[in-house]
């Protein structure tokens, strides 16, 4: 449940940053607003993505074997 919520937050932040970037490039969103969205959403999105990916308690293996 917690991992699903983390993925949801990561996707929401990614979508917000994508929309802000595209909007700013198209001139529909003020650059200051787009920058503000990135400043708020990038840290939260990154940590939420890591939280979704990280090993949970009680799991036997890690989800990345190509190290």
């Amino acid at each position: 449940m917690e991992k699903t919520a983390a993925l949801g937050i990561a996707i929401a932040c990614g979508a917000a940053m994508g929309l802000a970037s595209v909007g700013a490039a198209a001139g529909r969103v003020p650059p200051v607003l787009a920058g503000g969205v990135l400043i708020l959403a990038f840290p939260v999105g990154a940590l939420a993505l890591f939280r979704w990916w990280c090993a949970g308690e009680g799991e036997e293996d890690i989800p990345f074997l190509g190290y």
Partner: protein, 280 residues
């Protein structure tokens, strides 16, 4: 915008990996692969994460978000050609963030690291002195204005080599395993980041990658002017390798020696710029 941000973060991590590799080769070790810092970020991001019992949970997690956010802001400022003063204030703010990292965990190693972060804020003094020289010459603090000035008069590096030297010293002070890296020296384990593990350390790695890119890019923009992207990347690599040499060949200074050296450099530069101001 988001593409540049992710690209800058990954490139910064790659530069930090190259930093480790160069230091290792100079010291006669094979060293890790150059993409080691990227792997580190991935590795920490899937490790099990926890918050120490002694930690202030809100600060422990929140400070990671703040650390990334301030460098995203710095990246936006540099890209938009904003004020150098904001950029350098963010650089100073990073010291407070390091202090927050150290205090949030409740670990004595973290606390020592945090206290040393405050002491090492002296490393920012040369930066503010270099600003004085830039303003004297260009008449503006805006990066876009400084770029425009350089388009007419040539790179600031030739006009103000000592200001460039001051900023180079600041870059050196931000590099891990350098002469001024007193915040993470081995006698205090990993300093302010000792207890931040798992996804919290991965977040810190993201911050470090972005910070490295922003600082090197701002040095190039301020002292060499606007250049094509390929040149910028190559110059960032070149400056990073030179910093790695400096870090590998210089022993880490004791905390008070570190502050003394940086303060003396700042004092000497201040005298130079005062004289320059009188002449101009």
């Amino acid at each position: 915008m988001i593409g540049e941000l992710i690209g800058a973060t990954v490139f910064g991590l790659l530069l930090l990996g190259i930093h480790r590799k160069v230091i290792a080769r100079i010291q006669g070790r094979p060293g890790p692969p150059v993409w080691q810092e990227i792997l580190h970020t991935l590795k920490f991001s899937f490790k099990e994460s926890w918050t120490p019992r002694t930690a202030s949970r809100v600060l422990f997690v929140g400070i990671v978000l703040v650390a990334i956010a301030i460098w995203v802001a710095a990246f936006q400022v540099v890209l938009a050609g904003g004020s150098l003063l904001i950029l350098f204030c963010i650089s100073m703010l990073h010291k407070i963030v390091e202090h927050g990292f150290g205090l949030s965990s409740g670990s004595p190693y973290g606390k020592f690291g945090g206290v040393r972060s405050v002491i090492s804020a002296a490393s920012e003094i040369p930066l503010f002195v270099s600003i004085a020289g830039i303003v004297l010459l260009t008449g503006s603090l805006l990066i876009s204005d400084i770029e425009a000035w350089q388009a007419v008069h040539g790179p600031l590096l030739y006009a103000l080599p000592l200001a460039a030297l001051a900023m180079y010293l600041v870059l050196l002070s931000k590099m891990p395993w350098g002469p001024f890296s007193i915040v993470e020296s081995k006698e205090i384990v990993s300093g302010y980041k000792t207890e931040h593990f798992g996804i919290w350390r991965a977040g810190l790695e993201v911050c470090n990658g972005l910070k490295t890119s922003v600082l090197l890019y701002s040095f190039i923009v301020v002292f060499l002017g606007p250049l094509p992207l390929l040149w910028v990347l190559l110059l960032m690599l070149g400056i990073q390798v030179s910093l790695s040499f400096a870090c590998a060949l210089t022993p880490m200074l004791a905390p008070f020696d570190s502050v003394t050296v940086q303060s003396l450099v700042a004092g000497a530069l201040l005298l130079y710029f005062l004289a320059l101001g009188v002449v101009l």
